[in-house]
């Protein structure tokens, strides 16, 4: 909620009964994130229930390639940091810096997706598919759902960069950048849980 106040406050207009549209949208997005948290929580719960049901197929310990996962974790954490730098540039009114840092974030996000796809393809080649066991169904669905979120974020980021080039920093684009960066940090937080629950606990 803190963000609602800080960002809502400085472009609140004093006209009576006309609500601060950007502030409302920011609050609405927080609520959307709550629903997304519950969706991921449901997927996590399913994964935890099913993670030992390997049905004679490969286990996580045999499949997970920890160095790659650590690399993608660093990439995603860095992209969260660069998306923060983008917001910082925006607050200083530097449009070029904003678009530049968003581009860096997008490249890092794409690299993360690339590594994830590599991991998935590799596993499928070893015969560990969605159809192999309940554990792998839950694994691909949970990790894939996060990857899908990141991909949607990438499309969104590209669209927003185009809008920023056309319109510059306005209250509307400012709110859009804030929402996107919130979403990006959220994906980062989900990944930390994923890294812990799926990969670390999987190889322990």
């Amino acid at each position: 909620m803190a963000a609602t106040h800080t960002h809502g406050a400085h472009h609140e207009h004093a006209d009576h009964g006309h609500h601060d549209q950007e502030g409302l949208k920011m609050f609405g997005f927080w609520l959307f994130l709550i629903t997304d948290v519950i969706m991921f929580a449901t997927l996590f719960a399913t994964y935890v229930v099913l993670r030992n049901n390997t049905a004679g197929g490969p286990t996580g310990e045999e499949l997970f390639n920890i160095p790659i996962v650590i690399a993608s974790t660093f990439i995603l954490l860095t992209s969260s940091f660069t998306s923060g730098l983008a917001v910082l540039s925006m607050q200083q009114g530097r449009l070029k810096g904003l678009i530049g840092w968003l581009a860096v974030t997008a490249v890092l996000g794409a690299a993360f997706i690339g590594l994830e796809l590599y991991e998935f393809v590799h596993m499928v080649h070893e015969g560990a598919t969605l159809q192999t066991s309940a554990f792998l169904s839950a694994f691909f669905t949970l990790v894939g759902a996060h990857g899908l979120h990141v991909t949607i974020g990438l499309v969104w980021m590209i669209g927003l960069m185009l809008q920023l080039r056309r319109r510059g920093i306005t209250p509307v684009t400012e709110r859009k950048v804030n929402v996107l960066s919130l979403y990006w940090h959220f994906l980062d937080a989900v990944w930390i849980f994923l890294f812990t629950v799926v990969y670390l606990m999987g190889v322990m």
Binding site: G17, G28, D36, M39, L50, N53, A134, S137, G159, R167
Partner: protein
């Protein structure tokens, strides 16, 4: 030619005279709609005034119309089932067809009748009741409606195209898995509910923001009308429960479409996981639909007893505690599935706890009526009849929550009687009461009271005649989902009585339709805007409300602010001078919600039949619509002061 014939025979459901009749009538209705719209040149009007509208009042009306149509379809399902069960050994429906009908009856009544009727009332009432000009996100609101609409269309289509789902309204695997249900029916279930469920989730978000952020100045949380409180409680429950449904259906889809093993019996799948997940949504869902009904009863009781609601704070507390407790009861739906004594005991106790706040509310309504000057209007009669009905339903619910006793009642007609008693007696009666109560606000005229009372008595008597025998049938050992039974079971007479009751409710529905038709034909315009002598803000403006609702945003000082204003006026205290009019900020109409939801429908249809040439264009269309919307910046406009002044003058007969 032969390939077309073969395709058609697989695509359309054939070979049953009942379904053939439905196909013919659907075809004729569609031809009639197209003809009427073309003949009267109404296509442009339909598009501009309704399909693209973002006005919450019109969206509300569309929700109400759809839910009445769905009540008809769900009701016909119910009567078909009751006819099949009327006598032992009846041969009216086949077993398969019976399975499809009880499945669609449940899904339609909860998700496509109760939910949209509730959202319709939210849309019509909430902004007016809190002194707002619109909901927080009007575009999203329209999108929610159209997602519901196209999701419902997809689900209903299964009746004539491909075959309906037949694994029960919650579709337990492995029965709903690919091996148990190989046809497309279960796919219709997944996508029909999934698409409309996204809409419900967004409605929940929309109304929470509306209520928390858009109240008129002075309306603190503890001055909100009770219907607004109940909506808030319901929407909070929606945003916590519906994501679970989305994921659960998605996982079932993964099993059926991609051969995953979440809920299968082989390769490590766990069907119990589905049952836990679906009830983690399903139990809160029944509170999602009943909490707004509680709000409606509160408004109606205080209006027609001419008294302030008794125990306002305890009412708020009860609403909130019910919405929280509803998340801790889900396992009572499967006490008999071997969870163990401790788990069963925990969920038995949490279930019983809900009876406490519910009891608080019942007493509050009774104390509000006590020494009130009660006016027996139709909304008030629905409210009064709800109380004994809900008390009985609640008590049988407590009986079911006693885990050891539940081993006797489980999946029997006792259970059927219980949940119909709370869902018809609570939710349906509540929404009928609310619809009658707010009808003049929607359309500017009241519904005919006499016909409304006929409908009321037929529904009520029919209800008891239908469901009381089912308690005894359940205790006699009749289980649910049975499509026929032998003469020597001795269940014949009670079933016959029950069927008669079902048809009485059906006649009650016909009276409601007659009531609406009669009231439209002989309408008496309500010029006051306040036909019931109401208490809350929505009655302070003309009916139907103008596009912008309030010409000047009201300032609130008391709980029933409009009532207080009227009291002050009666005592001769002049109103505070109205602030000067200002241009009003409004959202522009948009066709994107309709088009985008239609693309969802196309994609859903493709998923049902595994046709990628539908799925890919459908999903691409959805994505393009989202991008187009994202690039739109010019989405609102201002209504100039002159126009506001003209509208107000016309509405108030030149008095403004």
């Amino acid at each position: 030619m032969d390939t077309i014939k073969q395709f058609a025979s697989e695509f359309f459901v054939t070979g049953d005279p009942l379904i053939l009749g439905a196909q013919v009538s659907i075809g004729l209705t569609m031809v009639a709609i197209v003809f009427v719209l073309s003949y009267f040149r109404k296509w442009g009007w339909l598009w501009r005034e309704w399909l693209t509208t973002v006005d919450h009042k019109r969206i509300g009306i569309m929700y109400v119309i759809c839910s009445i149509l769905m009540l008809f379809r769900g009701g016909v399902d119910a009567l078909l089932m009751r006819t099949q069960l009327a006598l032992p050994g009846m041969e009216f429906l086949h077993a398969d067809h019976y399975n499809q009908i009880f499945t669609t009856h449940g899904v339609i009544m909860i998700l496509f009748m109760a939910m949209p009727l509730m959202f319709g009332l939210f849309n019509i009432v909430i902004p007016l009741q809190i002194g707002a000009r619109d909901v927080a996100f009007p575009f999203l609101n329209s999108l929610s409606f159209w997602l519901f609409f196209w999701g419902a269309m997809l689900f209903n289509m299964s009746f004539v195209i491909g075959g309906s789902p037949d694994a029960g309204w919650l579709a337990y695997p492995p029965l709903s898995g690919l091996e148990g249900s190989p046809g497309v029916g279960q796919n219709f279930y997944i996508w029909g509910i999934q698409i409309s469920g996204i809409g419900s989730l967004m409605t929940g978000i929309n109304f929470i923001v509306t209520i928390l952020k858009m109240r008129a100045p002075g309306m603190g949380l503890m001055k909100m009308p009770m219907f607004t409180w109940s909506t808030l409680a319901s929407c909070l429950t929606i945003i916590l429960a519906f994501p679970i449904l989305t994921i659960t259906l998605f996982l079932l889809f993964m099993d059926r479409y991609f051969g995953a093993h979440f809920f299968t019996l082989d390769a490590g799948g766990n069907p119990m996981m589905y049952i836990n997940l679906i009830w983690m949504w399903g139990h809160p869902e029944v509170y999602i639909v009943i909490l707004p009904a509680f709000g409606i009863f509160s408004e109606i009781v205080s209006t027609f007893a001419k008294k302030t609601l008794f125990g306002y704070k305890s009412m708020v507390f009860a609403l909130m505690s019910i919405s929280i407790a509803s998340f801790f009861t889900w396992a009572h739906h499967f006490f008999t599935m071997g969870s163990g004594a401790n788990v069963n005991a925990f969920f038995a106790v949490t279930t019983m706890i809900i009876a406490i706040p519910t009891g608080v509310k019942i007493f509050n309504w009774l104390f509000t009526m006590y020494r009130g000057r009660i006016k027996f209007t139709t909304p008030m009669m629905w409210t009064i009849s709800f109380i004994p009905c809900f008390v009985v339903g609640g008590m049988t619910g407590v009986m079911l929550s006693v885990a050891p006793a539940d081993f006797q009642f489980h999946n029997s007609y006792f259970l059927i009687a219980h949940f119909h008693q709370v869902l018809i007696g609570g939710v349906a009666f509540g929404f009928f009461a609310g619809l009658t109560y707010w009808w003049p606000k929607m359309f500017g005229f009241k519904l005919h009271e006499g016909l409304g009372k006929w409908a009321f008595w037929l529904w009520n008597i029919g209800f008891y005649v239908c469901f009381m025998p089912q308690y005894f049938l359940g205790l006699d050992g009749m289980t649910r989902r049975m499509y026929t039974y032998d003469f020597d079971m001795g269940w014949g007479p009670l079933n016959l009585v029950s069927t008669v009751g079902g048809f009485l409710m059906g006649i009650g529905f016909l009276f409601q339709v007659w009531q609406i038709a009669h009231s439209i034909k002989f309408m008496q315009k309500d010029t006051t805007g306040d036909p019931w002598d109401g208490r809350t803000l929505e009655w302070s403006i003309p009916s139907p409300a103008p596009l912008y609702n309030f010409a000047t945003v009201p300032t609130v000082s008391e709980t029933d602010d409009w009532w207080a204003t009227k009291q002050r006026r009666a005592a001769g205290v002049p109103d505070a001078p109205a602030p000067a009019l200002e241009p009003i900020h409004m959202p522009k109409h948009s066709g994107i919600p309709f088009v985008m939801s239609f693309f969802w429908f196309v994609a859903g249809f493709g998923f049902v039949f595994d046709w990628l040439h539908f799925v890919i264009p459908g999903l691409a269309g959805v994505a393009i619509c989202m991008l187009v919307r994202s690039f739109q910046y010019d989405t609102d406009y201002y209504i100039p002061v002159d126009e506001v002044r003209r509208t107000e003058a016309a509405l108030r007969g030149g008095k403004a």
